[in-house]
């Protein structure tokens, strides 16, 4: 499961950060409202682990029907919502990543170059009678 921060959310109201967790089966987005998180953190007394006592982190399920976070986490500005499907985890449906095809292109060029060199330096020998047949044709 990959967790990628989605950029571009700082210039508009709403969630401050969106973390997308994806797999071929689906994605879940963890929406974090930084202002609300800080405000709620001021109001609660933190336990020895640095988290409010009894706080359970929201469960990120990769299935399409992701339940929203529990009420306490939602109140603290953290919500889990279903996201768009993440095709990057499936090689058959993902768009081709051309930046990763460098070794394949390099190998193809080297092998093609060697093949061209070999066929140029070692031409196909003319079989006996072939020249005469071509002249007749």
């Amino acid at each position: 499961m990959n967790v990628l921060p989605t950029a571009g959310h700082n210039d508009r109201p709403g969630p401050d950060r969106v973390l997308s967790c994806g797999s071929p089966r689906g994605t879940a987005e963890l929406r974090v409202d930084a202002v609300r998180v800080v405000e709620s953190a001021r109001q609660v007394s933190l336990g020895p682990s640095g988290l409010p006592p009894g706080w359970v982190p929201p469960r990120l399920d990769a299935s399409p029907g992701v339940p929203s976070a529990d009420a306490d986490a939602a109140g603290a500005g953290i919500a889990v919502v279903p996201g768009p499907p993440d095709w990057s985890a499936s090689m058959w449906y993902a768009p081709i990543d051309w930046s990763r095809s460098g070794p394949a292109v390099m190998a193809a060029m080297l092998l093609l170059g060697l093949a061209a060199l070999t066929t140029a330096l070692f031409p196909r020998p003319i079989e006996t009678g072939q020249a005469w047949t071509s002249i007749q044709a």
């Binding site: 090689m91 990763r100 095809s101 460098g102 070794p103 394949a104 390099m106 190998a107 193809a108 080297l110 092998l111 060697l114 093949a115 060199l117 070999t118 066929t119 330096l121 070692f122 031409p123 196909r124 020998p125």
Partner: protein, 142 residues
């Protein structure tokens, strides 16, 4: 089907498998690049007449192909059979020296094999190739 045609088709199949495996990031056939270059060498041996012109050119080309096959085999042996060409320059110590020496020898032999066929060595349109080959040793230094 003649023997050299069979080798040509086998080369295309193995080389295609190697490139497809690299492109799809799948381990399809270990040592595929080494086998493909050995098939090119076999093709050259099958098409070499025992006598005739350009004998030294053919010998140099076969020596160059053998060196390339050895470098490919060494790189693949170092990386579990799938390292060529991405990990060609990642060797360390004595192995890197051997691989670099073999690669330089292969380049020299193949270049000399081509130049043996040229009727007139100095021509104006050879200049870009000369400049490119002079700049190529500086490529890993970037």
């Amino acid at each position: 089907m003649r023997a050299d045609e069979r080798v040509s088709w086998a080369f295309m199949a193995v080389a295609g498998l190697h490139v497809a495996g690299l492109f799809l990031d799948r381990r399809l056939l270990p040592y595929a690049a080494t086998v493909a270059i050995l098939m090119l060498m076999a093709l050259g041996l099958l098409r070499s007449p025992e006598s005739g012109r350009h004998r030294w050119s053919r010998r140099l080309a076969l020596a160059g192909l053998a060196s390339v096959a050895m470098v490919t085999g060494l790189v693949n042996a170092r990386t579990g059979g799938f390292g060529w060409p991405a990990w060609s320059t990642a060797g360390r110590g004595g192995r890197a020296l051997v691989e670099a020496t073999l690669l330089a020898g292969a380049g020299s032999a193949l270049g000399a094999a081509v130049l043996c066929r040229v009727r007139r060595l100095l021509r104006l349109w050879h200049l870009p190739a000369v400049l490119a080959s002079a700049c190529y040793p500086c490529w890993p230094c970037r």
